[in-house]
Symmetry: C2
Subunit: 385 residues, 2 copies
């Protein structure tokens, strides 16, 4: 097992009716920016529940944070927050709203010039406004970690940042808020969470059997519960199980002491930045090719994954690996997530553009062995055509 540090101070309030706890979780004297997305919370009752819980608080609203939250939009929230002397933020929505709020929280007190430097130059976050979250879409895990991914529309960049200061103080996870999600978003969330686990699991063995089994526990549960959720999105227990799996997938518990491979995310972000393809779908496009391309260096874990998650025990090692990757593809496709670039009308020219951008940014040494270079990225994307 590798050495590690684990720290996650996010308080989770999980279950039916927990939104009412906002009344006490948000400090009584706070001046709150309530940040949300495209307005779905106004259709499903969450908006009213939140305002009701905060009826004795001073609340300023900021709606319109888009999927893949944009720097340009978020800076309006920063401006509004300063005007209104906001000292607490509440994110109400999915991972994009929460990621966006992390940026707003760090940008308000940022003293180093343009807050975009937090993403582009990894400028250190030394202060941040405290914030909490009401999660309405199980997917990214942002509700229980300190990471954030922000898109700059002007330059079509999608970049990440994180800081110990950008953990939510609390996150409320009420599975009932997901009952009205479009199936497309539910599918995306399941694939996103599933891929998060694989990126922390399909590397090389370091004799960490507990971490392996914890990862497999989430994978098997998503495999079982995912199709049920699509069939019956208002079944409470199924929704609860999906929601908790997505949070556990990226709260750090399965990552400790093991190598990780975030190449799929890094490559996928480019497809979103250039073509606006849903984040989860970019992962479903990239991951199978990456696994096939790296099947030798990931062999032991691919075989273990195949056996324990998909029951693949027959055939040569090469055959078992291919059966396992195909089982993963079939799972994604069964959730109505297409896994080929051509399904999204993306072709060779995009691959060239991604290669150009990676070269320009000096991207190199991706993957758990730091052996995925730009030429490998090109190969992987070609395999996904």
């Amino acid at each position: 097992m590798n050495n590690f540090t684990f720290y996650n101070p996010v308080k989770i309030l999980f279950g039916k009716g927990q939104i009412a706890a906002l009344a006490t979780e948000v400090p009584a004297d706070a001046r709150v920016l309530m940040a949300y997305g495209g307005g779905s919370i106004k259709k499903n009752g969450v908006y009213e529940q939140v305002l009701d819980a905060l009826k004795n608080h001073k609340v300023v609203e900021f709606g319109g944070i888009e999927p893949n939250p944009r720097y340009e939009t978020l800076m309006h929230a920063v401006e509004l927050s300063k005007q209104e002397q906001v000292d607490y933020i509440l994110a109400v929505g999915g991972g994009s709203v929460i990621d966006g709020v992390k940026f707003i929280a760090a940008a308000i007190p940022f003293e180093g010039g343009d807050p975009w430097k937090i993403c582009s130059e990894k400028a250190p976050v030394t202060k941040a406004i405290p914030f909490g979250a009401v999660l309405t879409l199980p997917a990214t895990g942002s509700e229980m970690n300190s990471g954030s991914v922000i898109t700059r529309e002007e330059t079509k960049q999608k970049l990440s940042f994180g800081s110990p200061l950008t953990f939510p103080k609390f996150s409320i996870l009420d599975p009932e808020t997901t009952f009205s999600l479009p199936l497309r978003q539910l599918s995306n969330g399941i694939v996103d969470a599933f891929t998060h686990v694989l990126e922390q699991y399909l590397t090389y063995p370091v004799n960490a059997p507990l971490q392996d089994r914890l990862a497999e526990s989430i994978l098997i549960t998503l495999k079982e519960e995912g199709p049920k959720a699509l069939q019956n999105p208002t079944d409470y227990d199924t929704a609860a199980n999906i929601m908790w799996c997505a949070t556990m997938a990226l709260n750090g518990v399965i990552r400790v002491g093991v190598p990780t491979d975030w190449a799929t995310h890094m490559i996928g972000h480019e497809l979103t930045a250039l073509h606006g393809i849903d984040h989860a779908r970019t992962l479903a496009i990239v991951l199978p090719s990456l696994l096939r391309y790296k099947r030798d260096t990931k062999k032991e874990k691919l075989l273990q994954y195949g056996e324990r998650v998909w029951g693949v025990t027959e055939g040569s090692e090469e055959e078992r690996i291919e059966t396992t990757v195909q089982a993963t593809v079939n799972f994604f496709e069964s959730l109505d997530i297409r896994t080929r670039l051509k399904d999204y009308e993306v072709n060779q020219s995009t691959i060239k553009e991604i290669v150009r951008r990676f070269e320009e940014r000096g991207v190199k040494n991706l993957g758990e062995r730091a052996d995925i270079q730009v030429a490998d990225v090109e190969q992987i994307l070609r395999m996904s055509l």
Copy 2:
């Protein structure tokens, strides 16, 4: 799944060489009480490593915290801390030292009279001195939770308390510190952790498949790694896996959203208080009888546990449950932990005394269904004779 709150802000620093991090984890201007146990840390090099890391700190030492830490001893540490104006505590040792430090931390600023009231009357902890831990014995999980169990020698009481203020600020887990543990303590630790998991798992199903699998992940890993650790206590990876399992067993992750049954602990504490039997051994005595006595109400989970952890699939339900409980007993015995009261020269008269004490204290409604009364405790203990 049941509603739940999860909060665990303990920072974990895991691995070889991590004790050196004390230099920065303990605030530079702190006046530190370094608390430890019977002196084993002076034989295995941990004492020197800690003092070396804290060479620029003001440190006051307090040794001699015993297994099942005693109120009487801890109050001496409270007195010393006040004299020396201690404002930070470092626990160096196993669960007993860490539990003891939690009490010291809460007792120093306690304003409600005798700090024993924190245990005996559940007097609220409104202030506590911050503290960290260097763990040297994987077992109780105290390094990553806020609970503590204190024994009052005078009255032979063993009582628990906990508060959000008694989480360690950090815990350092270096598996190498366990290399020199007596096998007896290693066995105890494995059984303690294994039982902690079972007490959060062998209840009734609430459609929480992820929590079930996370619990089973720890059980299977302890089952596999435990015997290896006894055979080769200086194998780093094995020691690391045991250590991380013990922490994960009681840091709250597997408890969320599911019922729990702490009856085994409640009854076991009495055997320690009256006869000084090692804590883990009391669990190994009580648990099998409790599972047999409650086999009907725990049926679904016992069958699942048997199948997934011990591979028990043959026979009637009744037979499979008995085979499963016996497999658990065999596992404990294989670790050289005896599971009968007679192995510890305890007889009927102790059972009577425990019944008397429970009646006196008004103990009732134990177990996940609150249906274990004193008469049931008597039956369970008789089955363990």
